[in-house]
Protein backbone atom coordinates (compact mmCIF):
# COMPACT_ATOMS: atom_id res chain seq x y z
CA UNK A 1 0.00 0.00 0.00
CA UNK A 2 2.77 2.36 0.92
CA UNK A 3 4.67 1.50 -2.23
CA UNK A 4 1.82 2.33 -4.60
CA UNK A 5 1.20 5.62 -2.89
CA UNK A 6 4.89 6.29 -3.38
CA UNK A 7 4.54 5.53 -7.07
CA UNK A 8 1.54 7.73 -7.54
CA UNK A 9 3.13 10.80 -6.06
CA UNK A 10 6.33 10.51 -8.05
CA UNK A 11 7.14 13.07 -10.72
CA UNK A 12 7.56 12.04 -14.34
CA UNK A 13 11.34 12.08 -14.00
CA UNK A 14 11.32 9.45 -11.27
CA UNK A 15 8.89 7.26 -13.18
CA UNK A 16 11.00 7.55 -16.28
CA UNK A 17 14.01 6.54 -14.24
CA UNK A 18 12.28 3.52 -12.75
CA UNK A 19 11.16 2.41 -16.18
CA UNK A 20 14.68 2.66 -17.52
CA UNK A 21 16.09 0.65 -14.65
CA UNK A 22 13.52 -2.10 -15.02
CA UNK A 23 14.16 -2.24 -18.76
CA UNK A 24 17.90 -2.55 -18.34
CA UNK A 25 17.64 -5.22 -15.69
CA UNK A 26 15.32 -7.14 -17.96
CA UNK A 27 17.82 -6.92 -20.81
CA UNK A 28 20.68 -7.95 -18.60
CA UNK A 29 18.89 -10.96 -17.18
CA UNK A 30 17.40 -12.27 -20.41
CA UNK A 31 20.29 -11.43 -22.71
CA UNK A 32 20.87 -14.87 -24.20
CA UNK A 33 17.20 -15.20 -25.11
CA UNK A 34 16.82 -11.74 -26.55
CA UNK A 35 19.85 -11.56 -28.77
CA UNK A 36 19.76 -12.72 -32.39
CA UNK A 37 23.43 -13.71 -32.50
CA UNK A 38 26.27 -14.78 -30.20
CA UNK A 39 28.17 -12.28 -28.11
CA UNK A 40 31.43 -12.38 -30.00
CA UNK A 41 30.20 -14.01 -33.12
CA UNK A 42 31.45 -12.47 -36.34
CA UNK A 43 28.41 -12.31 -38.58
CA UNK A 44 29.15 -9.91 -41.33
CA UNK A 45 31.51 -7.35 -42.77
CA UNK A 46 32.92 -4.54 -40.68
CA UNK A 47 30.83 -1.46 -40.13
CA UNK A 48 27.79 -2.59 -42.00
CA UNK A 49 25.06 0.02 -42.04
CA UNK A 50 21.79 -0.39 -40.13
CA UNK A 51 19.60 -2.78 -41.99
CA UNK A 52 17.47 -5.85 -42.08
CA UNK A 53 19.96 -8.42 -40.90
CA UNK A 54 21.74 -6.28 -38.41
CA UNK A 55 19.28 -3.90 -36.87
CA UNK A 56 22.00 -1.61 -35.62
CA UNK A 57 24.71 -2.56 -38.01
CA UNK A 58 27.99 -4.29 -37.21
CA UNK A 59 31.02 -3.15 -35.33
CA UNK A 60 34.67 -2.87 -36.24
CA UNK A 61 35.13 -6.63 -36.39
CA UNK A 62 31.84 -7.49 -38.03
CA UNK A 63 29.94 -8.47 -34.90
CA UNK A 64 26.27 -7.55 -34.52
CA UNK A 65 25.89 -4.29 -32.64
CA UNK A 66 22.51 -5.06 -31.16
CA UNK A 67 23.75 -8.32 -29.68
CA UNK A 68 26.84 -6.68 -28.32
CA UNK A 69 24.76 -3.88 -26.82
CA UNK A 70 22.48 -6.27 -24.99
CA UNK A 71 25.34 -8.40 -23.76
CA UNK A 72 27.10 -5.22 -22.81
CA UNK A 73 24.20 -4.49 -20.51
CA UNK A 74 24.67 -7.79 -18.79
CA UNK A 75 28.43 -7.54 -18.47
CA UNK A 76 28.84 -3.91 -17.56
CA UNK A 77 25.87 -3.79 -15.21
CA UNK A 78 26.82 -7.10 -13.70
CA UNK A 79 30.40 -6.10 -12.96
CA UNK A 80 29.34 -2.68 -11.72
CA UNK A 81 26.76 -4.21 -9.42
CA UNK A 82 29.18 -6.65 -7.86
CA UNK A 83 31.73 -3.88 -7.41
CA UNK A 84 29.18 -1.60 -5.78
CA UNK A 85 28.11 -4.35 -3.42
CA UNK A 86 31.72 -4.85 -2.43
CA UNK A 87 32.33 -1.14 -1.97
CA UNK A 88 29.16 -0.84 0.00
CA UNK A 89 29.70 -3.72 2.38
CA UNK A 90 33.25 -2.75 3.17
CA UNK A 91 32.53 0.96 3.41
CA UNK A 92 29.31 0.72 5.40
CA UNK A 93 30.70 -1.81 7.82
CA UNK A 94 33.78 0.30 8.35
CA UNK A 95 31.70 3.43 8.79
CA UNK A 96 29.41 1.86 11.36
CA UNK A 97 32.25 0.35 13.32
CA UNK A 98 34.11 3.65 13.32
CA UNK A 99 31.13 5.58 14.64
CA UNK A 100 29.92 3.03 17.16
CA UNK A 101 33.32 2.27 18.64
CA UNK A 102 34.65 5.78 18.42
CA UNK A 103 38.00 6.54 19.99
CA UNK A 104 41.20 5.52 18.32
CA UNK A 105 39.55 2.98 16.01
CA UNK A 106 37.56 5.81 14.52
CA UNK A 107 40.60 8.06 14.25
CA UNK A 108 42.73 5.48 12.49
CA UNK A 109 40.06 4.45 10.02
CA UNK A 110 39.14 8.04 9.27
CA UNK A 111 42.76 9.05 8.66
CA UNK A 112 43.31 6.02 6.47
CA UNK A 113 40.32 6.91 4.37
CA UNK A 114 41.41 10.55 4.18
CA UNK A 115 44.73 9.51 2.72
CA UNK A 116 43.13 7.11 0.27
CA UNK A 117 40.78 9.81 -0.86
CA UNK A 118 43.60 12.28 -1.29
CA UNK A 119 44.47 10.58 -4.56
CA UNK A 120 41.89 10.92 -7.31
CA UNK A 121 40.22 7.56 -7.84
CA UNK A 122 40.80 7.31 -11.55
CA UNK A 123 44.51 7.98 -11.18
CA UNK A 124 44.87 5.53 -8.36
CA UNK A 125 43.01 2.90 -10.35
CA UNK A 126 45.19 3.48 -13.39
CA UNK A 127 48.29 3.13 -11.29
CA UNK A 128 47.30 -0.10 -9.64
CA UNK A 129 46.01 -1.59 -12.83
CA UNK A 130 49.35 -0.90 -14.47
CA UNK A 131 50.89 -3.25 -12.02
CA UNK A 132 48.36 -5.97 -11.54
CA UNK A 133 47.03 -6.02 -15.02
CA UNK A 134 43.44 -5.66 -16.11
CA UNK A 135 41.44 -8.70 -15.28
CA UNK A 136 37.85 -8.56 -14.16
CA UNK A 137 38.60 -9.57 -10.56
CA UNK A 138 41.33 -6.92 -10.42
CA UNK A 139 38.91 -4.29 -11.68
CA UNK A 140 36.28 -5.28 -9.17
CA UNK A 141 38.68 -5.24 -6.27
CA UNK A 142 40.46 -2.03 -7.19
CA UNK A 143 37.39 0.05 -7.92
CA UNK A 144 35.47 -1.60 -5.11
CA UNK A 145 38.03 -0.70 -2.46
CA UNK A 146 38.64 2.77 -3.80
CA UNK A 147 34.96 3.54 -3.82
CA UNK A 148 34.37 2.09 -0.39
CA UNK A 149 36.08 5.20 0.97
CA UNK A 150 33.18 7.39 -0.06
CA UNK A 151 30.67 4.96 1.37
CA UNK A 152 32.70 4.90 4.57
CA UNK A 153 32.49 8.66 4.89
CA UNK A 154 28.78 8.74 4.35
CA UNK A 155 28.01 5.77 6.58
CA UNK A 156 30.16 7.23 9.31
CA UNK A 157 28.61 10.69 9.06
CA UNK A 158 25.08 9.36 9.01
CA UNK A 159 25.57 6.89 11.81
CA UNK A 160 27.37 9.49 13.91
CA UNK A 161 24.21 11.51 13.83
CA UNK A 162 22.32 8.50 15.08
CA UNK A 163 24.89 7.37 17.61
CA UNK A 164 24.61 10.57 19.62
CA UNK A 165 20.90 10.10 20.03
CA UNK A 166 19.70 9.35 23.52
CA UNK A 167 18.01 6.11 22.49
CA UNK A 168 21.37 4.66 21.56
CA UNK A 169 22.67 5.64 24.97
CA UNK A 170 19.63 3.97 26.51
CA UNK A 171 20.60 0.73 24.79
CA UNK A 172 24.19 1.07 25.93
CA UNK A 173 23.14 1.73 29.50
CA UNK A 174 21.04 -1.36 29.39
CA UNK A 175 24.17 -3.35 28.65
CA UNK A 176 23.35 -4.28 25.06
CA UNK A 177 26.27 -5.54 23.01
CA UNK A 178 27.87 -3.63 20.15
CA UNK A 179 26.33 -5.72 17.39
CA UNK A 180 22.86 -5.42 18.84
CA UNK A 181 23.17 -1.65 19.04
CA UNK A 182 24.45 -1.39 15.49
CA UNK A 183 21.87 -3.71 14.05
CA UNK A 184 18.74 -2.71 15.96
CA UNK A 185 19.27 0.91 16.85
CA UNK A 186 21.65 2.46 14.34
CA UNK A 187 21.02 0.63 11.08
CA UNK A 188 17.26 1.08 10.76
CA UNK A 189 17.69 4.81 11.15
CA UNK A 190 20.34 5.11 8.51
CA UNK A 191 18.65 3.09 5.80
CA UNK A 192 17.27 5.95 3.75
CA UNK A 193 20.50 7.83 3.03
CA UNK A 194 22.33 4.54 2.56
CA UNK A 195 19.89 3.28 -0.02
CA UNK A 196 20.20 6.55 -1.90
CA UNK A 197 23.96 6.32 -1.68
CA UNK A 198 23.89 2.82 -3.12
CA UNK A 199 22.25 4.19 -6.21
CA UNK A 200 24.74 7.01 -6.51
CA UNK A 201 27.71 4.73 -5.93
CA UNK A 202 26.47 2.37 -8.60
CA UNK A 203 26.39 5.26 -11.05
CA UNK A 204 29.86 6.33 -10.14
CA UNK A 205 31.28 2.83 -10.37
CA UNK A 206 29.48 2.29 -13.63
CA UNK A 207 30.90 5.50 -15.11
CA UNK A 208 34.40 4.79 -13.83
CA UNK A 209 34.32 1.29 -15.21
CA UNK A 210 33.16 2.57 -18.56
CA UNK A 211 35.80 5.27 -18.58
CA UNK A 212 38.51 2.74 -17.86
CA UNK A 213 37.22 0.43 -20.57
CA UNK A 214 37.08 3.35 -22.92
CA UNK A 215 40.72 4.08 -22.17
CA UNK A 216 41.51 0.48 -22.92
CA UNK A 217 42.35 -0.40 -19.37
CA UNK A 218 39.08 -1.88 -18.26
CA UNK A 219 37.17 -4.85 -19.49
CA UNK A 220 39.15 -6.48 -22.24
CA UNK A 221 37.90 -7.77 -25.59
CA UNK A 222 36.22 -9.89 -26.74
CA UNK A 223 33.84 -9.40 -23.81
CA UNK A 224 31.08 -7.04 -24.82
CA UNK A 225 31.31 -3.92 -22.75
CA UNK A 226 29.86 -0.53 -23.51
CA UNK A 227 32.95 1.47 -22.68
CA UNK A 228 35.24 -0.53 -24.92
CA UNK A 229 32.56 -0.62 -27.62
CA UNK A 230 32.71 3.15 -27.77
CA UNK A 231 36.45 2.93 -28.14
CA UNK A 232 36.30 0.30 -30.85
CA UNK A 233 33.83 2.18 -32.98
CA UNK A 234 35.01 5.70 -32.33
CA UNK A 235 36.22 6.27 -35.85
CA UNK A 236 32.68 6.10 -37.14
CA UNK A 237 31.96 9.46 -35.63
CA UNK A 238 34.16 11.16 -38.14
CA UNK A 239 31.85 9.83 -40.81
CA UNK A 240 28.82 11.23 -39.11
CA UNK A 241 27.60 7.81 -38.02
CA UNK A 242 26.05 7.81 -34.60
CA UNK A 243 26.74 4.14 -33.89
CA UNK A 244 29.45 4.79 -31.26
CA UNK A 245 26.97 6.99 -29.48
CA UNK A 246 24.74 3.98 -28.88
CA UNK A 247 26.80 2.31 -26.18
CA UNK A 248 27.76 5.72 -24.80
CA UNK A 249 24.15 6.73 -24.78
CA UNK A 250 23.16 3.49 -23.08
CA UNK A 251 25.56 4.30 -20.27
CA UNK A 252 24.18 7.79 -20.01
CA UNK A 253 20.59 6.64 -20.02
CA UNK A 254 20.98 4.21 -17.15
CA UNK A 255 22.90 6.71 -15.05
CA UNK A 256 20.32 9.41 -15.72
CA UNK A 257 17.53 7.04 -14.78
CA UNK A 258 19.15 6.07 -11.50
CA UNK A 259 19.94 9.68 -10.67
CA UNK A 260 16.34 10.72 -11.21
CA UNK A 261 15.08 7.99 -8.94
CA UNK A 262 17.64 8.70 -6.23
CA UNK A 263 16.94 12.43 -6.40
CA UNK A 264 13.25 11.77 -5.86
CA UNK A 265 13.98 9.33 -3.06
CA UNK A 266 16.17 11.85 -1.26
CA UNK A 267 13.53 14.51 -1.69
CA UNK A 268 10.95 12.23 -0.13
CA UNK A 269 12.95 11.02 2.80
CA UNK A 270 14.54 14.20 3.94
CA UNK A 271 13.42 17.14 1.90
CA UNK A 272 17.04 17.71 0.98
CA UNK A 273 18.48 18.12 -2.44
CA UNK A 274 22.07 18.24 -1.37
CA UNK A 275 24.98 17.67 -3.59
CA UNK A 276 28.00 16.01 -2.12
Amino acid sequence: MGFFKFLKKSPWSARFGMLVIVFYVFLAVFAPILTPYGESQVVGAEFEPWGEHFVLGTDNLGRDMLTRLIYGARNTIGIAFVTTCLAFSVGALGGFIASTLGGWVDQILARLVDVMMAIPALIFALMILTIVGTSVPALILVIGFLDSTRVFRLARAVSMNVVVMDYVEVARLRGEGLWWVMRREVLPNTMAPLVAEFGLRFCFVFLTLSALSFLGIGVQPPTADWGSMVRDNATLITFGDITPLLPAGSIALLTVGINFVVDWFLHLTSGLRDEH
Partner: protein, 312 residues
Protein backbone atom coordinates in the same frame (compact mmCIF):
# COMPACT_ATOMS: atom_id res chain seq x y z
CA UNK B 1 44.52 27.11 12.27
CA UNK B 2 45.71 27.84 8.78
CA UNK B 3 49.21 26.75 9.65
CA UNK B 4 47.82 23.53 11.08
CA UNK B 5 45.99 22.77 7.88
CA UNK B 6 49.05 23.49 5.77
CA UNK B 7 51.15 21.18 7.87
CA UNK B 8 48.54 18.48 7.49
CA UNK B 9 48.56 19.05 3.75
CA UNK B 10 52.29 18.60 3.59
CA UNK B 11 52.01 15.42 5.56
CA UNK B 12 49.37 14.12 3.19
CA UNK B 13 51.59 14.89 0.21
CA UNK B 14 54.38 12.96 1.80
CA UNK B 15 52.21 9.97 2.55
CA UNK B 16 50.72 9.99 -0.93
CA UNK B 17 54.16 10.01 -2.51
CA UNK B 18 54.97 7.03 -0.34
CA UNK B 19 51.88 5.22 -1.51
CA UNK B 20 52.56 5.93 -5.12
CA UNK B 21 56.05 4.67 -4.82
CA UNK B 22 55.55 1.81 -2.47
CA UNK B 23 52.23 0.72 -3.86
CA UNK B 24 54.30 -1.09 -6.37
CA UNK B 25 56.16 -2.97 -3.68
CA UNK B 26 53.16 -4.19 -1.83
CA UNK B 27 51.32 -5.65 -4.75
CA UNK B 28 51.65 -9.29 -5.64
CA UNK B 29 54.01 -10.54 -8.27
CA UNK B 30 57.36 -9.35 -9.41
CA UNK B 31 57.24 -6.24 -11.51
CA UNK B 32 60.14 -7.04 -13.74
CA UNK B 33 58.72 -10.46 -14.45
CA UNK B 34 55.30 -9.04 -15.16
CA UNK B 35 56.65 -6.53 -17.64
CA UNK B 36 58.92 -8.93 -19.44
CA UNK B 37 56.35 -11.65 -19.51
CA UNK B 38 56.44 -15.36 -18.86
CA UNK B 39 58.82 -16.17 -21.65
CA UNK B 40 61.74 -14.17 -20.25
CA UNK B 41 64.69 -16.10 -18.91
CA UNK B 42 65.76 -15.67 -15.30
CA UNK B 43 68.95 -13.88 -16.39
CA UNK B 44 67.00 -11.33 -18.41
CA UNK B 45 64.68 -10.79 -15.53
CA UNK B 46 67.60 -10.33 -13.12
CA UNK B 47 69.29 -7.88 -15.45
CA UNK B 48 66.09 -5.97 -15.86
CA UNK B 49 65.60 -5.85 -12.13
CA UNK B 50 69.05 -4.41 -11.71
CA UNK B 51 68.35 -1.86 -14.38
CA UNK B 52 65.13 -0.83 -12.73
CA UNK B 53 67.05 -0.63 -9.47
CA UNK B 54 64.75 -3.19 -7.93
CA UNK B 55 67.62 -4.90 -6.15
CA UNK B 56 68.17 -2.00 -3.81
CA UNK B 57 66.18 -1.90 -0.55
CA UNK B 58 62.91 0.02 -0.85
CA UNK B 59 63.69 2.93 1.41
CA UNK B 60 66.83 3.83 -0.48
CA UNK B 61 64.98 3.68 -3.74
CA UNK B 62 62.19 5.79 -2.34
CA UNK B 63 64.48 8.59 -1.27
CA UNK B 64 66.35 8.44 -4.54
CA UNK B 65 63.11 8.67 -6.39
CA UNK B 66 61.72 11.44 -4.22
CA UNK B 67 64.94 13.39 -4.35
CA UNK B 68 64.96 13.05 -8.07
CA UNK B 69 61.38 14.25 -8.34
CA UNK B 70 62.07 17.34 -6.31
CA UNK B 71 65.08 18.21 -8.40
CA UNK B 72 63.20 17.65 -11.58
CA UNK B 73 64.92 14.45 -12.50
CA UNK B 74 62.22 11.89 -12.87
CA UNK B 75 64.20 9.11 -14.41
CA UNK B 76 63.74 7.61 -17.80
CA UNK B 77 60.77 6.19 -19.55
CA UNK B 78 60.89 2.43 -19.99
CA UNK B 79 59.22 2.61 -23.34
CA UNK B 80 61.46 5.01 -25.16
CA UNK B 81 64.31 5.81 -22.81
CA UNK B 82 63.62 9.52 -22.90
CA UNK B 83 63.96 11.77 -19.89
CA UNK B 84 60.61 11.73 -18.19
CA UNK B 85 60.92 15.33 -17.09
CA UNK B 86 61.20 16.37 -20.70
CA UNK B 87 58.24 14.26 -21.70
CA UNK B 88 56.07 15.59 -18.97
CA UNK B 89 57.04 19.24 -19.12
CA UNK B 90 55.31 20.19 -22.33
CA UNK B 91 52.36 17.94 -21.67
CA UNK B 92 51.76 19.34 -18.24
CA UNK B 93 51.59 22.81 -19.72
CA UNK B 94 49.03 21.64 -22.25
CA UNK B 95 46.88 19.97 -19.65
CA UNK B 96 46.97 23.02 -17.43
CA UNK B 97 45.97 25.19 -20.36
CA UNK B 98 43.00 22.97 -21.08
CA UNK B 99 41.94 22.79 -17.44
CA UNK B 100 42.22 26.54 -17.01
CA UNK B 101 40.29 27.14 -20.22
CA UNK B 102 37.44 25.01 -18.94
CA UNK B 103 37.61 26.53 -15.46
CA UNK B 104 37.52 30.11 -16.65
CA UNK B 105 34.32 29.48 -18.58
CA UNK B 106 32.56 27.11 -16.22
CA UNK B 107 33.15 28.71 -12.82
CA UNK B 108 31.54 32.13 -13.28
CA UNK B 109 28.75 30.67 -15.36
CA UNK B 110 27.96 27.89 -12.91
CA UNK B 111 28.01 30.13 -9.86
CA UNK B 112 25.78 32.72 -11.48
CA UNK B 113 23.28 30.20 -12.78
CA UNK B 114 23.30 28.39 -9.45
CA UNK B 115 22.58 31.56 -7.51
CA UNK B 116 19.77 32.47 -9.89
CA UNK B 117 18.28 29.00 -9.55
CA UNK B 118 18.33 29.33 -5.77
CA UNK B 119 16.76 32.78 -5.81
CA UNK B 120 14.00 31.70 -8.16
CA UNK B 121 13.52 28.40 -6.47
CA UNK B 122 10.78 26.10 -7.75
CA UNK B 123 10.14 28.34 -10.72
CA UNK B 124 9.96 26.78 -14.15
CA UNK B 125 13.54 27.89 -14.81
CA UNK B 126 14.70 26.17 -11.66
CA UNK B 127 12.96 22.91 -12.35
CA UNK B 128 14.25 22.81 -15.91
CA UNK B 129 17.75 23.42 -14.67
CA UNK B 130 17.37 20.64 -12.14
CA UNK B 131 16.47 18.09 -14.78
CA UNK B 132 19.10 19.27 -17.22
CA UNK B 133 21.92 19.29 -14.71
CA UNK B 134 20.89 15.97 -13.23
CA UNK B 135 21.10 14.47 -16.69
CA UNK B 136 24.33 16.21 -17.46
CA UNK B 137 26.18 14.90 -14.43
CA UNK B 138 25.11 11.42 -15.39
CA UNK B 139 26.77 11.52 -18.77
CA UNK B 140 30.18 9.97 -19.20
CA UNK B 141 32.67 12.52 -20.46
CA UNK B 142 33.30 10.67 -23.67
CA UNK B 143 29.62 10.74 -24.46
CA UNK B 144 29.51 14.49 -24.22
CA UNK B 145 32.76 14.74 -26.16
CA UNK B 146 31.57 12.61 -29.03
CA UNK B 147 28.28 14.36 -29.29
CA UNK B 148 30.08 17.65 -29.52
CA UNK B 149 32.36 16.26 -32.17
CA UNK B 150 29.41 14.96 -34.11
CA UNK B 151 27.47 18.17 -33.95
CA UNK B 152 30.09 20.84 -34.10
CA UNK B 153 32.83 19.21 -36.05
CA UNK B 154 31.41 16.65 -38.41
CA UNK B 155 28.02 18.07 -39.18
CA UNK B 156 28.67 21.75 -38.96
CA UNK B 157 32.42 21.78 -39.32
CA UNK B 158 33.15 24.68 -37.03
CA UNK B 159 35.79 23.08 -34.87
CA UNK B 160 38.42 20.45 -35.54
CA UNK B 161 37.71 17.05 -34.11
CA UNK B 162 41.27 16.38 -33.16
CA UNK B 163 43.10 18.90 -31.08
CA UNK B 164 46.44 19.07 -32.66
CA UNK B 165 48.36 21.50 -30.55
CA UNK B 166 52.06 22.08 -30.67
CA UNK B 167 54.35 24.51 -28.97
CA UNK B 168 54.69 26.96 -31.76
CA UNK B 169 51.02 27.85 -32.04
CA UNK B 170 49.75 31.33 -31.37
CA UNK B 171 47.46 31.88 -28.42
CA UNK B 172 44.22 32.28 -30.34
CA UNK B 173 45.01 29.42 -32.65
CA UNK B 174 45.49 27.29 -29.60
CA UNK B 175 42.22 28.48 -28.15
CA UNK B 176 40.44 27.58 -31.33
CA UNK B 177 41.86 24.09 -31.57
CA UNK B 178 41.22 23.35 -27.93
CA UNK B 179 37.67 24.65 -28.01
CA UNK B 180 35.89 21.32 -28.22
CA UNK B 181 37.77 19.53 -25.45
CA UNK B 182 37.32 22.58 -23.25
CA UNK B 183 33.63 22.61 -24.01
CA UNK B 184 33.24 18.93 -23.13
CA UNK B 185 34.92 19.46 -19.79
CA UNK B 186 32.91 22.57 -19.13
CA UNK B 187 29.58 20.93 -19.77
CA UNK B 188 30.13 18.17 -17.25
CA UNK B 189 31.71 20.30 -14.55
CA UNK B 190 29.24 23.15 -14.86
CA UNK B 191 26.36 20.89 -13.98
CA UNK B 192 27.98 19.69 -10.75
CA UNK B 193 28.93 23.18 -9.69
CA UNK B 194 25.54 24.62 -10.43
CA UNK B 195 23.75 22.03 -8.35
CA UNK B 196 26.08 22.43 -5.43
CA UNK B 197 25.94 26.22 -5.54
CA UNK B 198 22.18 26.12 -5.68
CA UNK B 199 21.99 23.77 -2.71
CA UNK B 200 24.40 25.90 -0.72
CA UNK B 201 22.51 29.13 -1.41
CA UNK B 202 19.12 27.60 -0.66
CA UNK B 203 20.49 26.37 2.62
CA UNK B 204 21.80 29.82 3.38
CA UNK B 205 18.60 31.63 2.50
CA UNK B 206 16.74 29.59 5.07
CA UNK B 207 18.93 30.92 7.88
CA UNK B 208 17.26 32.90 10.66
CA UNK B 209 19.48 35.91 10.13
CA UNK B 210 18.19 36.28 6.62
CA UNK B 211 14.66 36.41 7.94
CA UNK B 212 15.85 38.91 10.54
CA UNK B 213 17.30 41.14 7.82
CA UNK B 214 13.93 40.97 6.13
CA UNK B 215 12.20 41.98 9.33
CA UNK B 216 14.54 44.93 9.64
CA UNK B 217 12.99 46.23 6.49
CA UNK B 218 16.08 45.93 4.30
CA UNK B 219 15.73 45.78 0.55
CA UNK B 220 16.00 42.42 -1.20
CA UNK B 221 19.15 43.36 -3.05
CA UNK B 222 20.85 44.53 0.11
CA UNK B 223 19.90 41.32 1.88
CA UNK B 224 21.41 39.26 -0.91
CA UNK B 225 24.56 41.28 -1.30
CA UNK B 226 25.34 42.21 2.28
CA UNK B 227 23.85 39.37 4.26
CA UNK B 228 23.71 36.29 2.10
CA UNK B 229 26.80 36.62 -0.05
CA UNK B 230 29.43 37.05 2.68
CA UNK B 231 28.23 33.81 4.22
CA UNK B 232 27.97 32.15 0.86
CA UNK B 233 31.63 32.63 0.07
CA UNK B 234 32.78 29.64 2.08
CA UNK B 235 30.40 27.05 0.64
CA UNK B 236 30.79 28.35 -2.91
CA UNK B 237 34.56 28.38 -2.76
CA UNK B 238 34.39 24.87 -1.46
CA UNK B 239 32.17 23.86 -4.35
CA UNK B 240 34.44 25.44 -6.92
CA UNK B 241 37.57 23.84 -5.67
CA UNK B 242 35.98 20.42 -5.35
CA UNK B 243 34.97 20.66 -8.95
CA UNK B 244 38.32 21.91 -10.09
CA UNK B 245 39.78 18.83 -8.51
CA UNK B 246 37.23 16.80 -10.42
CA UNK B 247 38.31 18.61 -13.56
CA UNK B 248 41.82 17.38 -13.05
CA UNK B 249 40.56 13.85 -13.47
CA UNK B 250 38.05 14.49 -16.23
CA UNK B 251 40.89 15.84 -18.30
CA UNK B 252 42.24 12.34 -18.80
CA UNK B 253 39.30 11.00 -20.78
CA UNK B 254 38.83 14.17 -22.78
CA UNK B 255 42.46 14.22 -23.85
CA UNK B 256 42.14 10.70 -25.15
CA UNK B 257 39.01 11.44 -27.14
CA UNK B 258 40.52 14.48 -28.80
CA UNK B 259 44.02 13.05 -29.01
CA UNK B 260 45.23 16.10 -27.15
CA UNK B 261 48.90 15.99 -26.22
CA UNK B 262 48.46 16.41 -22.52
CA UNK B 263 49.49 14.66 -19.34
CA UNK B 264 46.32 12.59 -19.22
CA UNK B 265 46.97 11.04 -22.55
CA UNK B 266 50.55 10.34 -21.58
CA UNK B 267 49.35 8.62 -18.44
CA UNK B 268 46.90 6.40 -20.28
CA UNK B 269 49.46 5.45 -22.92
CA UNK B 270 52.01 4.63 -20.29
CA UNK B 271 49.54 2.48 -18.42
CA UNK B 272 48.84 0.45 -21.55
CA UNK B 273 52.55 0.03 -22.12
CA UNK B 274 53.15 -0.61 -18.43
CA UNK B 275 55.81 2.06 -18.42
CA UNK B 276 55.92 2.26 -14.67
CA UNK B 277 58.26 5.23 -14.05
CA UNK B 278 56.17 7.45 -16.29
CA UNK B 279 52.99 6.25 -14.63
CA UNK B 280 54.42 6.99 -11.21
CA UNK B 281 55.65 10.42 -12.18
CA UNK B 282 52.40 11.43 -13.86
CA UNK B 283 50.29 10.04 -11.04
CA UNK B 284 52.35 11.96 -8.56
CA UNK B 285 51.78 15.20 -10.43
CA UNK B 286 48.05 14.62 -10.69
CA UNK B 287 47.85 13.66 -7.04
CA UNK B 288 49.84 16.68 -5.95
CA UNK B 289 47.62 19.03 -7.93
CA UNK B 290 44.52 17.41 -6.50
CA UNK B 291 45.81 17.65 -2.95
CA UNK B 292 46.94 21.24 -3.38
CA UNK B 293 43.52 22.19 -4.67
CA UNK B 294 41.78 20.54 -1.74
CA UNK B 295 44.21 22.21 0.61
CA UNK B 296 43.42 25.59 -0.94
CA UNK B 297 39.72 24.90 -0.45
CA UNK B 298 40.22 24.12 3.21
CA UNK B 299 42.40 27.14 3.83
CA UNK B 300 40.01 29.48 2.03
CA UNK B 301 37.16 27.98 4.01
CA UNK B 302 38.95 28.76 7.22
CA UNK B 303 39.75 32.27 6.11
CA UNK B 304 36.19 33.11 5.19
CA UNK B 305 34.76 31.81 8.45
CA UNK B 306 34.56 34.66 10.95
CA UNK B 307 34.32 32.21 13.82
CA UNK B 308 37.72 30.83 13.03
CA UNK B 309 39.39 34.07 12.11
CA UNK B 310 38.23 35.99 15.17
CA UNK B 311 38.34 33.55 18.03
CA UNK B 312 36.72 34.40 21.35
Amino acid sequence: MVAQRLALGLLTLFIVSLIIFLGVELLPGDLAQAILGQAATPETVAAFRRELGLDLPPYIRYFQWLGGMLEGDMGRSLANQREIAELIGGRLANTLFLALYAAVISVPLAVMLGILAALYRNSFYDRCINVVTLSSISFPEFFVAYILILLLSVKVGIFPSISNVSDDLGFWERVYRTALPAMSLTLVVIAHMMRMTRAAIINLLASPYIEMANLKGLSRSRIIVKHALPNALAPIINVIVINLAYLVVGVVVVEVVFVYPGLGQLLVDSVSKRDLPVVQASSLIFAVTYILLNLTADVLSIMTNPRLMHPK
